[in-house]
């Protein structure tokens, strides 16, 4: 029997207080995610239960019980306070998927500061933009990434502490740097957990839009309520589950479900901190007997490409329930997973801004392969007409996916950008920025973005950010960036560039520009292809017509070109 039981019954009788009661939270009382994920589980008699099974390169293993988690979060939280980090301060976690990242996020939450996890492959400019915007006062990082922090330090006077978790003493520490060795530190038995309330800020994640710089999405401790309940009902987390969320906590899935959902439900969480290979993933599932697997369409399609024969070389019979998030899960992937694993991947849809799952395929609900599923109980979702912002009438009509605000994990604002936040609402609906249609059974079917943001491998990339960075390359005079279809990642970045005088198009220049963006922004933002143009298509008022280039890449009709500038 699944945790959710009957979807229809749950929808009928739903209240968020179901989760509040299970968690023992009284409205108006204290709620601290860090405490719920550590001390509370210990108090429930599970102190010796395995919390983390971690594996790194070369098969190196680390294991932590829930009591280890309690002690280490006490210790790291105390250390941060000792450095002068205060409640409400932003603390960035800039690390690979090492245990210190997971435990670090919980430590920051436990002492009442705001956790700002960032993808460790970000280049120095991406890092700078996000740290500056957040006014981050401390960053926890690894030796291998500290070079990127040093490059931008002069521009960040408010960044007071750089904490290195794996300093080996071979090189001297530089300005503002300090060392924290989590496992060998004297463990702190008692710690006064910050008395955070429902609306106290908890996590700050950055997301990209079509224009402007990335936006900091502010979440609060009350988000736990919907993150906990969706973990129980959608991921169907059971007492003995061995859970593997493959997402990096630098992105919202890795935090909401790779940290908060998994630990708050007391599951045993597996973490694999190596690069992707189909063989190593199957071996990992086999070795740790993973039962609940939450992954992404890009990874699933890569596994499909590796072939069915490889699957047969491993014992994957431990798998009990599979789910997916990031971009739409194509019907072929659902059918394939049923064939090779004997279980279908259950697609889930949500965003950085929503904080927790919104449209889902829950156990027991019929899966329509390729569909996003139905709204989670308690979520009011609809498809709005693009002009009137009223719900469309009848099935199969495309429009904007929208939600009635009010669920616990909804973002509270964009950091220092309330104006943009307010623009996300029309007629009392939160606009997701995605388009879909509803079928006759009220299942949602994803169509695409309603803007130019590129969804590559489940991560959003702003064309504006890439175009701005391209202009910093000496060879580039003008640029336009669009999504290009991709079999594995759904979309990848493609750049059209006009070169400055004195530069000749060529393979080596293309490579140089690609690497320039990769290092400056991130591998995700790196154009996978660069096309040289003599001039970009523009309107008569000089605005680049990105839509034309996009249509060309996707083989779509280019539409109205009456505003196109003449030759």
């Amino acid at each position: 029997m699944s945790n959710i039981g009957s979807y229809e019954e749950r929808v009928k009788n739903f209240e968020w207080s179901i989760a509040e009661k299970e968690l023992g939270y009284e409205p108006g009382g204290d709620i601290n995610i860090g405490w719920y994920c550590t001390d509370r589980i210990c108090q429930m008699g599970k102190a010796s239960k395995m919390a983390i099974l971690w594996e790194g390169l070369g098969g190196v293993e680390k294991k932590y019980t829930y009591n280890d988690l309690r002690l280490r979060t006490n210790t790291m939280a105390s250390f941060l306070i000792g450095l002068g980090v205060n409640q409400g301060d932003r603390v960035c976690l800039f690390m690979d998927k090492v245990p210190e990242l997971y435990i670090g996020v919980l430590s920051v939450l436990k002492m009442g500061a705001v956790a700002q996890p960032l993808f460790s492959a970000f280049g120095d400019e991406s890092l700078f933009i996000r740290l500056e915007n957040a006014g981050t006062s401390a960053i926890i990082t690894q030796r291998k990434h500290v070079g990127k922090v040093r490059q931008i330090l002069d521009k960040l006077p408010g960044l007071k502490n750089i904490i290195i978790i794996d300093h080996d003493g071979k090189k001297e520490l530089k300005e503002r740097e300090t060392v924290f060795a989590m496992d060998s530190a004297v463990q702190v038995e008692h710690f006064d957990v910050a008395k955070t309330k429902a609306e106290s800020p908890s996590v700050l994640h950055y997301t990209s839009g079509t224009t402007g710089q990335p936006k900091g999405v502010k979440h609060v401790h009350y988000s736990l309520i919907s993150q906990y309940l969706t973990t129980k009902w959608v991921l169907d987390m059971q007492e003995d589950d061995i859970y593997w969320c493959t997402a990096d906590p630098g992105w919202v899935t890795g935090t909401s479900y790779g940290i908060i959902g998994g630990f708050a439900t007391g599951a045993t969480n597996c973490i694999l901190d190596t690069g992707f290979s189909a063989e190593s993933w199957y071996r990992f599932i086999q070795k740790y007997k993973v039962t609940m697997w939450y992954s992404a369409p890009t990874a699933i399609r890569s596994l499909m490409k590796a072939g069915d024969e490889l699957v047969k070389q491993f014992d994957l019979s431990s798998l009990r329930h599979l789910a997916s998030v990031g971009e739409p899960l194509n019907a072929e992937a659902v059918i394939w997973s049923e064939k090779v694993f004997g279980k279908a991947f259950h697609d889930t849809y949500w965003q950085t801004e929503t904080g927790s799952m919104m449209i889902v395929n829950v156990p027991g609900l019929k899966i329509k392969p390729g569909s996003m599923g139905k709204p989670f109980p308690g979520i009011t979702a609809t498809v709005l007409d693009e002009n009137t912002y009223e719900p469309v009438s009848g099935p199969n009509k495309p429009g904007l996916i929208a939600f009635r605000p009010g669920w616990p994990a909804m973002m509270r604002t964009y950091w220092n950008n309330e104006e943009t936040y307010q623009k996300k609402f029309k007629n009392g609906w939160y606009l997701s920025g995605d388009k879909a249609f509803l079928d006759q059974d009220n299942y949602f079917w994803f169509i695409g973005r309603d803007d130019d943001v590129i969804n590559t491998g489940g991560h959003l990339v702003s064309p504006f950010e890439v175009e701005s960075a391209l202009l910093e390359h000496e060879a580039v005079a003008e640029s336009a960036v669009v999504a290009k279809p991709d079999e594995v990642n759904m979309e990848v970045v493609k750049a059209f560039v006009v070169l400055n005088e004195g530069f000749e198009p060529g393979d080596m220049l293309e490579l140089q520009i690609m690497n320039f963006i990769r290092k400056k922004l991130s591998p995700l933002a790196m154009p996978q292809e660069i096309e040289y143009l003599d001039k970009l298509p523009k309107t008569r008022s000089g605005k680049i017509m990105r839509r034309l280039l996009h249509a060309k890449e996707w083989g779509h009709d280019i539409g109205d070109v009456s505003t196109l500038e003449d030759d």
């Binding site: 390169l57 690979d96 492959a121 030796r143 291998k144 990434h145 070079g147 990127k148 071979k170 090189k171 901190d273 190596t274 690069g275 992707f276 290979s277 189909a278 063989e279 190593s280 890569s302 590559t456 491998g457 594995v488 990642n489 990848v492 393979d507 080596m508 293309e510 490579l511 690609m514 690497n515 990769r518 591998p523 995700l524 790196m526 996978q528």
Partner: protein
Amino acid sequence: MNNMKDIVLKYVIDEYLDDPDEELTYDSPLISGGIVDSFSMVSLKRFLEATYKISLPDDRATPEAFDTVNSIVTLVEEFISKKS
């Protein structure tokens, strides 16, 4: 430097290695070791194609074939020999 292994190794170290103290060998796992991610693999492929004037089809430029400098060199040599 004209040994292909050294050229590829140097490129990987210069372009993809975050930790300057990390030692890489011809057999170090690049993709499964997380040094070169799947997105960055595209730029590594482009480097090999531009440097050795070959075209590597996508179905051969797999994470497995790109996992070590040794396996990369084997793949590149195969396509160079096909050219001649």
